[in-house]
Symmetry: C2
Subunit: 462 residues, 2 copies
């Protein structure tokens, strides 16, 4: 996959970047190796050089060097992506954004914040501690904000607070020729021209490098309640979810775990949940009484759908323990088979088809030789399968993942709800988008005619 | 502004379109005149031909005729736009979309609906009556859904339910060469490639013709309360709004009227509101008790900011009367000076700057020779000025509108929160977007290289 680049171009770029960045550029093997992969099972691919810019201006200069030397540019955040987004499949210059991690401004009145793209989610949440506001989007990993913008990340709270699509208000972007543009305004809404912000959200660095992000913030709820309940079947659980959403209860999270995921979580996190299809709910409200009412209605709905073992956790400790267990699901799954590779895949379907999709997926898995658990952001119709693969099972795993995408497509869904395309899911975009893929390719060609911006991801030009 | 087109091209197009559409194409003067303008004071501009397509396929065929004959294509909905979006400034073929007004599918489980673009907002709300769901976005006018998508419309409920930006899940679009693409999927979220949906939302038909729209729906609230209150100053009113939002009360609407607007509304709608800066609130909740709690907290906050004459309307009739009055604000303003032209303009600023912006705007107005009222979706930082112009006051009105945009820009805002660009506000996009305007122009050139799709709006290529 990786093609050797012109070594003189690399040497020339290194000389230029050295003048610009001093010791913040390197060709050292250990650093290149660290920047050659995300957290997936995709084959690593090394960049030739790694830079550590401190400002939008420096990113612009690096991109100009890449233009002059005709080298690819690959933005790198926390390295937590799952579809090979940060793999330098054609070598080139890796832009490690982690040193650009400042809060540039925050406004409590406007409930928004502007940060540099290399700030991580937990850094941001910590920086907001004194404001009474927070940023709720949580993909699980401690990704950078720029990375989250670029994969259109979401996670457990999207059912209430939206995904990155709904929470990015504006961007600073370095284009392929090094020009810097600002998208959006600080007004909460605008009808003034094409929506460039959303063009870069989810573009995985293939149209430009995001250096600054303005985000919408939310108020910390006055009251929170968390529940866990077991259901007789996936169908019952999903029907309860649909009704909870239709009621307009404003549920903040609804997570699903299948019985195997529950068993793994019990063992890993020392819980004693019933090994049945399980839902975790979280409600946010302006007062204890409001949340109590949500709880009462949700409890009633859940019982109507056969829920048992319903436990409401009002204490912060109890809630924390449950969510910690949910967040550790990946590690819990892996612990089922120490030493295995974990293939994590992700689809999203209309919620009306979700139960059917999960049941068919479980039936498919039950015919295979490897273990797997299912966990999902069920309020969005989004679920993940964690496949525990031994040395000889990669092909079987890939074939399963392929069938999963076909199943999601057949149900009007998407090949990825939140992990993104990278190079792992490029092959599914034609089936998903049809002729619209040509339009995507035309946009890429317009903004990056030389195909230097994270080439080989999302769409190919050659 | 209007340039004569090649009459043989028009005759040739008419012949082709006649074969395709029969009597659903016309060059009749009365029909052309009807399709030459929206509701603004901008100079009308006639299309050469008007078509009434019944399907995406017919729209595609019409666009292919436009390509062959090199004629512009201007989509037309309800004709309620305010910045000249539907004016055929270069003549060509007007596509009247109103006969494409069917619901194609609705899903209560998924809380979404797909409609043809020519369906109007009230047609949609009526069609949803039996579902328990509704579509809350309400720009005031009974616009078509396609028109609302195209101007990124919003209105009174955006503070809670978002604008068209947040509520369009997918589109069917006819591109400039007649190809049909589908954007988005029926899944609630996706990370699978570039966000084409948002590229067409707000593009005013300049990148393609929208023929079908998939929209997110919302649950009708179980309980609703409406309040009206007078404040000692604009600043007090806006500060109350900021705190209500920060509390996370989930307010569904917060509308502002300045004292002159209140006086006009009192007179026109036979109300007896105090002629002071006034807020209308609406709360939606899952139960009477939940709404009662919101009301209690909002009431307390409003009083802390000096609110008087606070009246809560729980009865449907009382609420209806207040909102009818708010919706009739345009007619109320016009009745202040019968026979005048109403210049309606629209900016949006960060809410932290809103009070300052309104106060400065009122001071500006007080120096001018015409009357004007201010009304706004204050929860979004968005407000409108309705200027009542006599025959000799157009220049003075335009100069005022220009200063208003400059004021909004200086405060980090936008030249239009919801009315769009059309040709009326094209001149402000460079100041607002800087180099990003080049990127917009590049997108236009990519998707419409011959500049046939609603030319002369948003960006110019020539």
């Amino acid at each position: 996959m990786q093609q050797p680049l012109d070594t003189s171009a690399i040497a020339s770029a290194l000389a230029d970047l050295g003048c610009l960045l001093g010791d913040r550029v390197t060709a050292a093997d250990a650093v290149r190796e660290h920047h050659s992969h995300g957290e997936s099972t995709h084959t690593p691919a090394l960049p030739d050089l790694v830079c550590f810019p401190l400002s939008t201006q420096e990113v612009s200069e690096v991109v100009k060097v890449s233009a002059r030397c005709r080298l690819p540019v690959v933005p790198f955040g926390a390295g937590t992506s799952l579809e090979g987004q940060v793999h330098a499949v054609r070598g080139g210059i890796c832009l490690d954004m982690r040193r650009m991690n400042r809060v540039l401004r925050v406004s409590t009145a406007d409930m928004d914040v502007t940060v540099e793209a290399g700030m991580s989610r937990t850094q941001l949440v910590k920086a907001l501690e004194s404001t009474g506001l927070t940023f709720f989007i949580d993909p699980g990993a401690d990704a950078t904000i720029g990375g989250m913008v670029s994969t259109r990340a979401s996670g457990t709270t999207a059912v209430r607070y939206g995904t990155m699509r709904e929470n990015v208000l504006g961007l600073t972007v370095v284009l392929a020729d090094g020009r810097v543009i600002h998208t959006g305004t600080r007004a909460r809404k605008s009808s003034a021209g094409y929506d460039l912000t959303h063009l870069f959200v989810g573009a995985e660095g293939t149209l430009g490098v995001i250096t600054e992000v303005t985000l919408r913030l939310h108020t910390w709820p006055e009251a929170v309640a968390v529940a866990v309940g077991a259901f007789p079947s996936v169908k019952d659980a999903v029907e309860a979810v649909i009704e909870v959403i239709q009621l307009g209860l404003g549920v903040a999270r609804i997570e699903f775990m299948d019985e195997r995921m529950v068993a793994a979580v019990n063992s890993y996190s020392r819980l004693e949940l019933a090994a049945m299809p399980t839902l975790l709910f979280e409600f946010h409200g302006i007062s204890q009484s409001q949340v109590a009412e949500m709880v009462r209605l949700a409890d009633q709905l859940a019982r109507e759908h056969g829920a048992s073992h319903l436990t409401w956790e009002a204490s912060p400790d109890g809630r924390e323990r449950l969510w910690r267990a949910r967040h550790d699901a990946y590690y819990a799954a892996r612990s089922l088979r120490p030493g295995s590779q974990v293939l994590t895949t992700d689809v999203c379907v209309p919620i009306s088809r979700l139960a059917e999709c999960i049941v068919a997926t479980r039936a498919d898995l039950d015919r295979l030789s490897f273990s797997a658990t299912i966990v999902g952001h069920v309020g969005d119709g989004n679920f993940h399968v964690l496949c525990l693969l031994g040395a000889e099972q990669n092909e079987e795993g890939d074939a399963f993942a392929h069938r999963l995408v076909e199943r999601a497509h057949a149900m009007g869904g998407t090949c990825t709800g939140e992990h993104g395309v990278g190079y792992g899911k490029k092959k599914y975009l034609l089936a998903e988008h049809g002729d619209a893929l040509d339009t995507m390719r035309a946009l890429k060609r317009t903004l990056d005619p030389e195909n230097r911006m994270n080439p080989g991801k999302i769409v190919d030009l050659d």
